[in-house]
Subunit: 337 residues, 2 copies
DNA sequence: TTCTCAATCGTATGCGCAATCGAAAGCGCA
DNA sequence: TGCGCTTTCGATTGCGCATACGATTGAGAA
């Protein structure tokens, strides 16, 4: 590796001058500067971020701990985050939590020992431990997607509104005459799951429908087997549902696949609405009616908050809730464009 | 931050003993070890990866430079990579190239100054410069997805076979009686694009069809506008195509959207086959006939090669080509399962 | 007692850099 | 010539760690 002193030797100056030229941190005679620049070019000097980080105490790196890769919904979120992060001159260090508390712990520890300057975390179902260490070490953190009820000081959070929009989904089905409306939720314990389920019940209640626990199934993410089972059980009910509210992206795909396997036609045999949109929701058969999350904005705002906190650690902690958009298409049984 | 010497002070030993206990790098009296462990617990010592990296000259980090996030096709590849990488005890540092040579250069430089131990790169259309610096600094590298004709020594590469499978796609359409078969390609300059286009011509030729340059359009990734234009031009031809071979995932989605906007029915009005599969290709209307890439294996094998090279730098460089699988569904005009 | 040797641990160094401190040189002015 | 001041830059230090090397101890042999 070519180091600063190599460059210094070639340029016939001291290493400290090289450093100052690179960082523009003090005035240098034009000739000297030129010589240094030439020496850098000649030696192919690249700089050592590790050494710089050790010295400066900052890594210019932001850690991202979420099921970023295993969960397609997060794709666009990560995309937006990466955009903003790299525009701000930071790098992104990725650690996949697989939405599992144990792996989440490892992921955060990993990011910590890599000394990330700040962190974006989509908390798992049991994030207490990591939130604790994070706040103890007072690492600037923003929680994304899943927003806990109480947030530790110095932690920001951003997510979407889950309850009312889910209730609206139920409203829509109820207005179409459905009385047996089921829901297949995402992973138990996530705040999004809880909130959407709450919204589901709100919808059931305010439309004067019967509260039937049999109509609520957990779809768990990942394999899709839980959804397969959920659909089977739902259809085997003595009074099976005529409509389903799906809790997230993965549940939606698995549910549609399960229904297709049973040769059930949507929306003729059963109506479907989903929380979470797809860019290609238009291309599905039938075209999916969804509650679409502003995923890009979610990511962009998360980074914005983080940068602001990096700039001023004493900022009061903030919660932001973004509004989803109703995408009215065909799977609900309507025929809108 | 709590450092080693803090721990040492609490445990009443020297810092080097703490280090040795942590790394199990020399024998230590059981009592001493216990004291150190207790002190670590008590102080909440976490270790500083940065300092360790500087000292050891290795970061336990693997850099990934590809349009990982902006291109959904790569989702599963990244997923597989992350799995293997973290299982091997490494972290993943992400840098999105957006498939643009300039940004690719910045991304690689970024990874380099973060001192990644090795790199996985999906080369852009003009990767000469970065391949050069990579091989000059002799960083273990594996090229993924796009496999250049000539590879520098010490660089491995892995991708799928593109030409013959594309020709097979054309074969299939020709056997169904199509004589006007168009193709919409991905970004110009990528080796995958070139190879698939080559396969397209092979298919045209060996089925005795007329070579018509008008039937070949570039779909460029990203916005989907190029595809929109391509479809418009194709349909405006005096003898428009009756079938289209789509060059990749993004082109496929954009093409289907463009066709849908024109109220054209697939496969009745026009047949469609695609290179690249989707996990939910079954849910599209109509169900897509595709050439499916073994994306997970692509990622897993890439990491495997990298780890092997990390283990032994003198390995001869290897190319691996994986075989895609024909997924026969309905958009081609057949009615298989 | 003195010496040897093994077992256990501490001291010192340097990884590559940023930043502090102070040295050297040039200038004007008395 | 001598003083103060500015401009330009070099020597040095320490970030937190791993590790080469040396110091200390006690047991056993001579």
């Amino acid at each position: 590796m070519v180091t600063m002193s190599d460059v210094a030797r070639v340029a016939d100056v001291s290493a400290s001058t090289v450093s100052h030229v690179i960082n523009k941190t003090r005035k240098v005679l034009p000739d000297t500067e030129k010589a240094v620049l030439a020496a850098i070019e000649a030696t192919g000097y690249w700089g050592d971020g590790i050494a710089r980080s050790l010295r400066k105490g900052t890594t210019e790196t932001i850690g991202l701990a979420m099921s970023a890769i295993s969960n397609p919904y997060f794709g666009d979120v990560v995309h937006a985050i990466e955009q903003s992060v790299s525009k701000a001159g930071y790098s992104l260090l990725l650690a996949d939590t697989h939405d599992d508390p144990a792996r989440e712990k490892r992921a955060v520890k990993d990011l910590l020992s890599h000394r990330v300057d700040a962190m974006i975390v989509a908390p798992s179902s049991d994030p207490e431990a990591i939130l604790d260490t994070l706040s103890k070490r007072s690492i600037p953190t923003v929680l994304i997607d899943r927003v806990p009820d109480e947030i530790r000081t110095g932690m920001d959070a951003i997510g979407v509104i889950n309850d009312e929009p889910t209730a609206k989904l139920v409203d829509h089905l109820a207005q179409l005459g459905h009385t047996r409306i089921a829901t297949i939720t995402s992973r138990t314990g996530l705040t999004t799951t809880t909130e959407r389920l709450h919204g589901y019940w709100t919808g059931i209640d305010r439309n004067g429908l019967a509260r039937d626990p049999d109509l609520v199934r957990v779809g768990d993410d990942g394999t899709g087997e839980a959804v397969e089972l959920a659909v089977a059980e739902l259809l085997a009910l003595s009074a099976p549902p005529t409509a389903i509210v799906m809790g997230n992206n993965q549940v939606t795909i698995a549910t549609m696949a399960a229904l297709r396997n049973r040769r059930m036609s949507v929306p003729a045999d059963i109506a479907l609405v989903a929380f979470d949109d797809f860019p290609w929701a238009d291309l599905f058969h039938p075209r999916l009616t969804t509650m679409s999350q502003p995923v890009e904005e979610l990511g962009a705002q998360a980074v914005k908050m983080l940068l602001e906190r990096l700039d001023n650690r004493d900022l009061p902690s903030r919660h932001i809730r973004l509004e989803p958009t109703f995408m009215h298409r065909e799977s609900c049984g309507c025929n809108e464009g």
